[in-house]
Symmetry: C2
């Protein structure tokens, strides 16, 4: 599979890129968050998802306090190079509500 | 499954919401695009994905010219109500490159 480097990604005007997190086996979408270049580099170094929290304006190592970390298996990027899909092995629920996925409701 | 109405969704300051499009059978993430309230209402009415093109600043009925429409099976929403996952049955490739999914490359 063709590979891009972080420098080839298109971060938005705030320096962020959308990160879709998907279970690597079930392919269930677990959550969608944001990364900046630093959080993506740290994700690659640590091997677990580290996002940029827009509300708290700080790095957010998913599961650092809850234990519900996400081990990164593969990072995919789209044709525009402005969105990521992270295939992960989740140690626990992705959602703060305790649901396995944040997408536990539907639009009627 | 608990349902939300469009009025309960949180659109951003530009009136947009992130829309992750996933194959309803393989669960492959096909593309990520944007919707506003109007495009979401039209998506529900027509039963096919209709996005808001940020580059062209207009409604974008996916596949209207190429034939590669996406029939909507279910629309999920996350805990924050600010991101959608659309489970679809795709008539053809999602990507303008001809790839089935826009996520055909990885980050090294």
């Amino acid at each position: 599979m063709f590979s891009l480097t972080i420098d080839q990604l298109k971060f938005d005007e705030k320096g962020l890129i959308t990160a879709v997190v998907q279970d690597h086996l079930t392919r269930e979408v677990l959550m969608v968050a944001w990364m900046n270049a630093e959080s993506l580099r740290l994700t690659q170094q640590v091997g677990e998802t580290i996002f940029w929290s827009r509300s708290r304006q700080e790095l957010w190592h998913k599961g650092a306090t809850s234990g519900n970390t996400q081990k990164v298996v593969q990072i995919l990027v789209d044709c525009d190079a402005d969105t990521l899909v992270l295939l992960v092995e989740a140690a626990g629920p992705a959602c703060h509500t305790g649901e396995r996925s944040c997408f536990y409701r539907q639009v009627e």
